[in-house]
Amino acid sequence: MAVLVLVEHGEDELSRQAIAFASGLGEVEALAIDGDASGWPVERAHVAEGMDSYAPGAWARALEEVIDRVAPTAVVAAGTNRGNEVLAYVAARRDLPFAANCVSLLAQDSAGGASANGGESLTVTRVRWGGSLLEEARIHSSLPLLSVAPHAVPAAEGAGSPEVETFTPELDESDLLVQVAEHVDEVSTGISLAEAKVVVSGGRGVGSADGFGIIEELAAQLDAAVGCSRVVTSAGWRPHTDQVGQTGTKVSPDLYIACGISGATQHIAGCKGAKKILAINSDAEAPILASADYAVIGDLTEIVPAITAELRKARAP
């Protein structure tokens, strides 16, 4: 029995994770939107052609056509903006349940099995609270729709040699009503928070917008990006683009330095992908210490400049 995976060109790593996840449910077939699908590690690739700019309704229509042709046992996508959006469209159109951001499969019950509703069901673990909590959930449906939380499973490796079938989905006007009409380029300046090797982040303990001067100086010494907590953005000290957390940016640096940040679960949701976390906090009981690898206890306004000075000293000829 086939499982259908929506793969996204440009999101190769997350799409391969979705393929790996789906392979636990059956033989994987992929739907790709335009482009060369010959490298995906799947049995068969369906390529929807002539799809111009992104239109979620059109992608969903393409997915529905393949669903009708292949009759898969489940449909899987990466938990990206588009993956989640397109599956939600299919879910809405077909009145099917959709479980977003799954991390593992628990059990599959066929008709008449353990399912409380009597029908077929699939049990999964999915993330809540941006990853701070997990939920075991049963999807009551003969066609479960699932997206896979980023970095929950290792990606399927290698180049496949799928049979490639192209088709042109039959779209109507309503499928194209919501469509990217324009792309505005924005040149990003400085080091990208999401990709930085080191992030120096400040919270309420930094005290003010001006207080971030010492955070920026330390960041400059380390070629690091500057991050912050939500308290800081809500106060208008830093722009929201600097916010790390559940409703901000998710970071995965080698080192995350949290200065004057208490360690609320919603903040940790954004930085727990860091290899190491160093907390600088005046409170030896702050919750962040239970998420950090290293800590310095004391006043950040003294500690942060001292670290900067020590780095400068070490670099001086």
Binding site: Y54, E85, L87, A88, Y89, A91, A92, L96, P97, F98, A100, N101, V127, R128, W129, G130, S132, L133, L134, E136, A137, R138, I139, H140, S141, A181, E182, H183, D185, E186, S188, L222, R230, T233, S234, G236, P239, H240, Q243, T247, D254, L255, A264, Q266, K272, K275, L289, A290, A292, D293, Y294, A295, V296, I297, G298, E302, I307, E310, L311, A314
Partner: protein, 247 residues
């Protein structure tokens, strides 16, 4: 312009997730409650649109009776009236949530959702409501403006912004950062007490996305190695940075 904003009451968890004994919910006895930052920004966006174009804002929540507190907070920001749908003490799955909202969502020019709810993060209620109403929906907005009966919607994407233009009536889902919400003034909080909140009790259908139990993920409860106290710890910090290859 008539605008509906949908918000969900969630606990304000601190540094730790603690479950009730039956593993069905978070232990909230000592916690405050709030709504998602995305939804806060949704309310602020509605208030700004009405300041600019005139109109009226309704805020809807499906939750326990105590969720009136969250509605009142949005009324203090500038919403005009509230609808409180009683959830009967249990969380509703996203399909059921959408259906309950659809029943109240008839004649609004714009319906604003969060991109995802803070707790369950289903990424779908807004899209389901839009589909049931036959309206366009644009998700994950970081920019919104209304002109000549059309909504210009901006998403942040790699390398810039994607722009969508859809006719009203429409549905949008927004992200924190689309604006910086205001703090309510004391007089606004007092006025909010007088604004109407209508309570209703819809029937809860069975869940097709059924929560079986909650699990706290492993990895909470590390013990940080204390490198030192105060500025004297700087050399030890730099030493660690060297070991990690970042200094």
């Amino acid at each position: 312009m008539r605008i509906l904003v949908c918000v969900k009451r969630v606990p304000l968890t601190g540094g730790k997730m603690v479950l009730t004994a039956d593993e069905q919910s978070l232990e909230t006895r000592h916690l405050g409650f709030t709504i998602s930052p995305h939804e806060e920004c949704g309310v602020e966006e509605a208030v700004r649109l009405v300041e600019q174009h005139g109109g009226e804002i309704t805020v809807l929540t499906l939750g326990p009776p105590e969720a009136e507190e969250q509605i009142r907070e949005t009324l203090a920001i500038g919403a005009d009236r509230g609808i409180l749908l009683a959830d009967g003490g249990e969380e509703w799955d996203p399909q059921a949530t959408a259906a309950a909202i659809v029943a109240e969502a008839g004649d609004f020019d714009l319906i604003i959702f969060g991109n995802e709810s803070a707790d369950s993060g289903n990424y779908q209620v807004g899209i389901r409501v839009a589909h049931a109403l036959g309206r366009p929906v644009v998700t994950g907005l970081k920019g919104l403006s209304i002109e000549d009966g059309r909504a210009r919607c901006e998403q942040e994407v790699a390398g810039g912004r994607d722009v969508y233009v859809v006719p009203l009536p429409a549905v949008v889902t927004v992200l924190e950062g689309i604006n910086l919400p205001r703090y309510p003034s004391v007089p606004a909080k007092l006025r909010a007490r007088q604004k109407p909140v209508e309570a209703k009790t819809p029937e809860r259908p069975s869940s097709r996305l059924e929560k079986l139990r909650l699990v706290v993920p492993p990895g909470q409860g590390k013990q940080a190695e204390i490198l030192g106290q105060g500025p004297d710890a700087a050399p030890a910090v730099v030493e660690v940075m060297r070991e990690l290859g970042v200094a």
